[in-house]
């Protein structure tokens, strides 16, 4: 038998979640989050294992997984850079920030740098429009950005 993606502990963590809902399928999003927490992204095999656990078809789980932009269905780097490209950040010049990121990291949106250090993605409004332009790296919000500040910030993510 092929080795499972989800460990016993991870399966138990998902079971603990669906116990609290009237139907198992309600834990689909939470289950995907558990998978991503341990594996950084959600592979086809992981989708199948979650589907079995929640009594859903793999297609049903995948339709949920591919709907939400923060469930990653492709591998991502150790750090994910989310660049806000919504209206206030646009007015305050986010395009300069993203051009600089693309040049410096030599990647485009949706790509990952060598050695898996950074993945670059665009994201909808981060809700910090009074401090635009803003980006989020992993769980850290960086606001009132300038190109100079950005270089120093990137150095802190190894």
């Amino acid at each position: 038998m092929a080795e499972k993606i989800l460990t016993e502990e991870q399966v138990e963590e998902i079971q603990e979640i669906y116990k609290h809902f009237p139907v198992r399928s309600a834990a689909c999003i939470e289950g995907l989050k558990v998978i991503q927490k341990y594996h950084r992204w959600v592979s086809d095999e992981a989708v199948k294992e979650l589907a079995t656990l929640l009594l859903l078809s793999p297609a049903a789980v995948d339709s949920v997984a591919t709907y939400y932009n923060l469930i990653f269905r492709r591998p991502v780097g150790r750090h994910v850079i989310l660049v806000c490209d919504s209206v206030s950040c646009w007015i305050m010049g986010y395009t300069e920030i993203v051009d600089h990121l693309k040049n410096k990291l030599a990647i485009g949106y949706g790509e990952t740098t060598a050695e898996d250090r950074f993945t670059l993605l665009s994201v909808a409004c981060l809700g910090t429009c009074d401090h635009a332009p803003a980006i989020m790296i992993d769980e850290d919000l960086h606001r009132d950005l300038t190109v100079d500040k950005l270089d120093k910030i990137l150095d802190t993510y190894k």
């Binding site: 609290h20 809902f21 009237p22 139907v23 399928s25 309600a26 834990a27 689909c28 999003i29 939470e30 995907l32 989050k33 339709s63 949920v64 709907y67 939400y68 932009n69 923060l70 469930i71 490209d85 919504s86 209206v87 206030s88 646009w90 007015i91 305050m92 994201v123 909808a124 409004c125 981060l126 809700g127 910090t128 429009c129 009074d130 401090h131 635009a132 989020m136 769980e139 919000l141």
Partner: protein, 423 residues
Amino acid sequence: MQKPLTQHIKSDGTWLTLSEYEKVGGYQALKKALKSEPKEIIKTVKDSGLKGRGGAGFSTGTKWSLVPTDEQSHGTKYIIANADEMEPGSFKDRLLLEANPHQLIEGLIIGAYAIQASFSYIFLRWAYHLAAKAITQSIQEAYDAGYLGEHIAGSDFHLNMSMHISVGRYMCGEETALLNALEGKRANPRAKPPFPTNSGLFGKPTVVNNTETLCNIPEIINNGADWFMKLSATGEGGTKLYGASGKVKKTGLWELPLGTSLREILYEHAGGMLPGYQFKGALPGGGSTDFLTEEHLDIPMDYASVAKAGSRLGTGTVIVLDDKTCPVGMVQNLERFFARESCGWCTPCREGLPWTAKLLAAIETGDGKPEDLDILTFHTHYMAPGNTFCALAPGAMEPLQSALKYFKDDFDRHINEHKCPWK
């Protein structure tokens, strides 16, 4: 002036712990509410004039009164705090969630008691990591102190509460889409009727209220409907968290009487435009509201007045357009957002939004044709309210239709000069 939403918020960036919140009178409103009949609470909230602060502006008390009473319907009922703030340009709920989570929790418990719900959720947007920590700790504190769980504050009322953290998508802010997300599904909207107050989460009666709306509840219970009504400048009830972003001197948030003028918000509180920039227009309440211009600066920013001026109060967070920023580029940015965030469930939105975004991109880069403006105008009717399941597409058309009205010359210049005049 009195500031029921922000009066207790600390300046050091930390949130009020349970004991700090209790010291300033926290949870007194809950104790008072538990001694009244649920219908009395609904009446007080209705009389206060409180309307939804998430954008739709529906009377909160009326929404609560639509939930079947226990005599009409037995079984589970739900109440949900919509903390999925994702409207472009909006950052008001973030402050309340990060700085005083107990006020939201208390408002949510009182709302639950008013509709006799037994389970409550806080639906939090993924990006608010600090708020997630604050809410997690605060819910636990509330359980430990007996404000959640069984026999709340010694009464016969029982309520559980948990937080769901989203994994993205603007659609989750729409209340029926939010319910689908909470059920673990794609966040497509649902056809209405039935309305969530009759058939919501897992088919049970459910109320969904915006964060700012619920944060008003404890002080309405403490001080009464008349007091709340008198807080506003124009008689619609309460204060409002107004905000400003764009090229103004002091971007930020201010709690002001509901109905404060756009001029006061932008020129007193936001300090006016940055040196070298002129005011050209503004979206008064997030990305899905119609532009207002110079002629509208003195209108009161309340629901009725902004509607009369052809726009919506929305979230009350103003996005300012200056004279050095291209209005076509700004609308293109907005329509790209809406096209990307469309869930694709209904045709006008799925097909129409990418088309408008493409046409605007062509105009912005100098490839626009005069007839493109007619196609854009067609879309503003094609995606008008009533043609789609939810408000995403009609909302998306608001900045576009108003830009075509107020900035028509700027669209024409792009087409005639075959380039963006701002570049």
